[in-house]
């Protein structure tokens, strides 16, 4: 007895044998392993491909034999007989497919791609668009915004909130909240985090549960109106990250902004405010905020200071439209009665359903992608249908014999459909695996600012949907070939083998033309997206991002009570950062362009007489010397900030070109003066320089007038504000992120309790601004490429099959003196027809369909003639090439052999 250890393959096979029933195994296991060993060493299974073939055969054998091994032979009822019939169909189908591995692999892969892309994108649709928001009755939750000229959708003011509470019957209730930041300030683990101040009714308006504890009471909110809050609510993320998910945290005090505060509640893990769906950094700390709920007696002229968010819940029976009407009426009344909201500025309150607001920008992109993958799936179906039609021609003989043996038409159709179902099931299984992988890739494409993409998963709903798609797919691609086989004329088919099969090749041509048309539509769409992406990429944002490291630091009032403390700290930090080898320059600014929204500040501009009710204002920044140089923002006239522009020097400012265009057109702005606020209380600021415009609130957002004040002069210029929160900007010689640690260390050594946040490069910030167009263009591009490939495989297959069917005819033609080129052009002609018909239908369909992605385009016409033209020409060339290559084989036909061929 040889007692060699079993090879790995044999151990695996022994494992597979466990699938057989126990009685069968006990009887035959040893013998089967014996046969396995003998077969393993068969010469035809040598080498890598032999190995693959061996396992293909083994698994196939298992699939065919399993139902047999489980079957009993006695007492078969009618029901069992029909199950047996199905099993038999199944077994036969598996066996037939295994015997044509080339065909099977091709069909399965095609289906896997089609079903897999559909499943993956449906996963996105399901998680992003269909899943309700984490609020009770989330359809009734609305967001309310303000807008006026230059501010298409912006914050609201406290006065507006109070007026809406009392004059808009469509709302059940409204809650106000605003973004801020705060420090977890325990010395051992300081952390700067996003924070929110919210009215105590926030969670009631949203109808969101608390994970632990509670939200704020009215008393707590009222107290916070005059004193620093003693209570906070924290996010689930902070609870897990900082407190190790300690179940006893609620009720305990933690240090925030240098003061102990009691955690009264923890939010659920999936909770997000409506404005936080597009961000990776959800707020970790909530503070109570008190707002007097009574109506405003004397309404401010421009609505007041706009800086808060409002979320509301509709009263049952009310709609977004009725709420909007309430607010419009209110604005009209305030204009008439109090002279508020000057009409020239087009004040308009906006109401959105929360879901529309959150998904507004990404919904059309996802729907376009869904359309794309449905097209890919259809192309895949057409391809497999074609493969099956081709094969059914080869199988004429077999089918005829089965019909002769008494198989009815339905029986044959059922058999063919079973084969389709087996193909679709395997393809669907692979496709779902593909979807799991794809979803991870989608998430990788999200830099954190695409709403809900991080929630995407392949769950039960997606699996169910995929199963449905799989069955539908099988019916779609399987029924045409099956019905055609079933109707085959018995005598004709027994009599001939092969033949031109005109009926079927007509169908094949139609299918190929259809594939072409679908692919053309997709490529047009992708072309428009690529062009949009180019246009967006070529937008000059007005600053450069290379080798710039940035991080945010905020100084708590408890340890840095005065503006001078803050200025001293920032100056010292910049000086120390510049001592680090590799750092060329260290500077600081209030907020970075494309990173967060910038708002405006009312101004008085010397010598400028505003029109009646015209708001004089500018977006406000403060910056340290070196900011313009580091960011590559050009100084077009005058000078940038110097270190001498300090707290003791005369107040200076720098403005952008848009500012000059508005307030001092045709004048030299250098030496002109403006001041912050319109009440005449602040000091005049002299303009010393004009810098280039910078895109701030988004790539395609309007560029507004902006002014910059030296960091050291901010307190004096703004009338007492402190520059406590800054973004340090460090210009490095090489890779900026490599200097993260030494730059952080500067802050840490100066004050270990300070938290550092938002460590990233300016390049990353610029890149994040392109996230959604990139997401769309990458996915649509990839799917279109897949679609083209499938369509080309389709036409290639049909033409080369046509050539092989007509070998005899070609031989005769050549024997009679036809030139090879004539023969090739004969074969190509049919391809040209298919390509041109497909192209024609595709272009017409694309002209009609691309308008659905119009909202995704930028600076590109949805029917751009250049793109349509070049895509059509390019497509025709590639498709004709796919036709020509197999057709050329016709020229290589040897007449003698061709005539002999069957």
């Amino acid at each position: 007895m040889k007692n060699v250890p079993r090879a790995r393959g044999e151990r695996f096979y022994a494992l597979l044998l466990r699938l057989y029933p126990k009685t069968f195994r006990s009887r035959f296991e040893h013998q089967m392993l014996e046969v396995f060993r003998e077969q393993r060493v068969d010469a035809k299974y040598a080498g890598l491909f032999g190995n693959l073939r061996f396992w293909w055969d083994m698994v196939g054998d298992l699939l065919v034999a399993l139902p047999d091994a489980k079957r009993r032979y006695t007492g078969v009822t009618k029901w069992e007989a029909s199950v047996d019939g199905m099993l038999l169909d199944l077994k036969f189908a598996v066996r037939t497919l295994l015997r044509a591995p080339g065909f099977t692999v091709m069909a399965v892969l095609t289906l896997a791609i089609g079903i897999g892309s559909t499943a993956a994108i449906f996963g996105v649709v399901n998680s992003v668009l269909l899943k309700p928001l984490p609020y009770g009755d989330s359809d009734e939750v609305v967001t309310v915004w303000s807008s006026w000229i230059g501010f298409p959708k912006t914050w609201v003011s406290v006065a507006e909130y109070r007026a809406w509470l009392n004059n808009a019957p469509s709302f059940d209730d409204l809650s106000l909240y605003f973004s801020t930041s705060a420090n977890f300030s325990s010395p051992e683990n300081p952390e700067r985090v996003n924070a929110v101040g919210a009215t105590e009714n926030l969670m009631e308006v949203l109808q969101a549960p608390m994970a632990q504890g509670r939200f704020f009471t009215t008393e707590e909110a009222l107290r916070a109106d005059t004193l620093p809050s003693e209570v906070i609510v924290i996010s689930h993320q902070a609870w897990a990250r900082r407190y190790g998910s300690d179940p006893g945290l609620v009720g305990r005090s933690v240090e925030v902004n240098g003061r102990g505060r009691v955690v009264v509640g923890v939010l659920p893990a999936d909770f997000r405010l409506p404005v936080d769906f597009g961000t990776a950094d959800v707020p970790d700390i909530y503070f109570p905020t008190w707002i007097d709920r009574s109506d405003v007696v004397s309404f401010p002229e421009a609505g007041g200071s706009h800086g808060a968010f409002v979320v509301g819940r509709l009263r049952p029976g009310s709609t977004v439209e009725s709420a909007k009407r309430d607010l419009d009426n209110l604005v009209a009344r305030l204009q008439a009665e109090q002279g508020s909201y000057p009409p020239e500025r087009n004040f308009e309150p906006l109401v959105f359903s929360a879901k529309d607001d959150i998904l507004g920008t990404i919904r059309p992109a996802i729907l376009a992608l869904l359309g794309t993958v449905v097209f890919v799936l259809l192309i895949a179906c057409a391809n497999v249908a074609n493969l099956l039609l081709t094969r059914s021609q080869v199988r004429h003989g077999e089918i005829a014999v089965r019909a002769a043996l008494g198989a009815g038409r339905w029986r044959i159709v059922r058999q063919m459909l079973t084969e389709s179902m087996v193909l679709a099931t395997i393809g669907g299984g692979l496709g779902i695996a593909l979807a799991f992988v794809s979803v991870e890739i989608f998430k990788g494409l999200n830099p954190g600012n695409l709403p809900r993409i991080d929630e995407v998963s392949i769950d039960g709903a997606v699996l169910g949907f995929s199963a449905l798609v799989t069955v539908a797919t099988a019916i779609l691609f399987g029924s045409l070939p099956a019905l055609r086989s079933g109707s085959s004329n018995l005598h004709a088919n027994l009599g001939r083998r092969g033949g031109t099969g005109l009926g079927k090749s007509g169908w094949q041509g139609t299918l190929v033309a259809l594939e072409m048309a679908l692919a053309v539509v997709l490529v047009m769409g992708a072309g428009l997206m690529v062009r949009t992406f180019e246009q967006l990429s070529s937008i000059d944002v007005g600053f450069q991002g290379e080798n710039l490291l940035t991080m945010a630091v905020s100084l708590p009032t408890t340890t840095y009570p005065t503006a001078q403390d803050a200025v001293n700290f920032h100056r010292e930090a910049m000086r120390k950062m510049e001592e680090i080898p590799g750092v060329q320059m260290a500077t600081a600014v209030r907020i970075l362009p494309l990173d967060s929204q910038i708002g405006d500040w009312g101004l008085a501009v010397e010598g400028y007489v505003p029109a009646q009710n015209e708001g004089v204002n500018g977006d406000w920044q403060f910056a340290a010397p070196g900011y313009f140089e580091a960011m590559g923002i050009p100084v077009n006239s005058g000078r940038p900030f110097e270190w001498t522009d300090d707290e003791n020097a005369a107040l200076v400012g720098v403005v952008n070109e848009a500012f000059v265009r508005r307030y001092w057109p045709n004048e030299n702005p250098i030496g002109k003066r403006f001041r912050m606020g319109s009440d005449g209380q602040t000091k005049w600021i002299s303009v010393v320089g004009v810098v280039g415009d910078v895109t701030h609130n988004g790539l395609t957002a309007e560029i507004k007038r902006k002014f910059y004040i030296p960091l050291a002069q901010w307190e004096a210029a703004s009338g007492g504000n402190r520059p406590t929160s800054v973004r340090f900007v460090v210009k490095t010689a090489g890779n900026a992120l490599a200097l993260t640690a030494p730059v952080r260390n500067v802050i840490r050594q100066m004050d270990p309790s300070l938290a550092i946040a938002q460590v990233r490069t300016v390049d990353d910030i610029k890149s994040a601004a392109m996230a959604q167009p990139r997401f769309t263009v990458v996915l649509m591009g990839t799917f279109s490429l897949v679609a083209i490939l499938l369509a080309l495989v389709g036409i290639y297959g049909v033409i080369s099959y046509g050539v092989s069917l007509r070998t005899q005819e070609i031989g005769i033609r050549m024997a009679l003196g036809a030139e090879p080129e004539q023969v090739v052009s004969l074969m190509v002609k049919r391809g040209i027809t298919m390509v041109l018909v497909g192209l024609g239908i595709g272009v017409v369909a694309a002209l009609g369909l691309t308008r659905y992605i119009e909202s995704l385009l930028y600076n590109v016409d949805a029917q751009d003639p250049v793109i349509f033209g070049s895509v059509a020409v390019g497509f025709a060339v590639v498709a004709l090439l796919a036709t020509y290559i197999p057709a050329r084989r016709a020229a290589g036909v040897n007449p003698i052999q061709a005539l002999r061929s069957d």
């Binding site: 013998q31 392993l33 014996e34 046969v35 077969q39 298992l62 065919v64």
Partner: protein, 116 residues
């Protein structure tokens, strides 16, 4: 006595198994090789198909395990040999008869078509 014709038609693998054993008793792998040889590679038998067919044939009483063993020392103790039963021989003959009738019929049909 079991009814011979009630088992017809036999599955393709069963016919081939019986035919292979009709030539003399064989062990599993030898049956597989012979079947593939006889069918010109059309009927392929892996271990699973082979032994489910053998099981079926044994259950129906068409074949049985042979008492014969190869000479000891050839180190093939795991091998079992199978042989046709008299009933198996009858069933095989009946199936071949049935197939022959079908082939004749089909030939006539085909030549008729060709003549047109």
């Amino acid at each position: 006595m079991k009814d011979v014709t009630s088992l017809l038609p036999l599955s393709r693998s069963l016919v081939h198994l019986l035919l292979a054993l009709h030539e003399g008793e064989r062990h599993g792998y030898a049956v597989k090789k012979r079947v593939e040889e006889m069918s010109g590679g059309i009927v392929r038998m892996g271990p699973g198909t082979l032994y489910t067919t053998i099981q079926r044939a044994e259950d129906l009483g068409l074949i049985e395990e042979s008492d014969e063993r190869p000479p000891p020392g050839e180190d093939q103790s795991q091998r079992r040999y199978y042989e046709l039963t008299p009933f198996g021989t009858q069933v095989l003959a009946a199936e071949v008869e049935r197939l022959g009738a079908f082939v004749d019929h089909a030939r006539t049909a085909l030549s008729g078509v060709r003549g047109k």
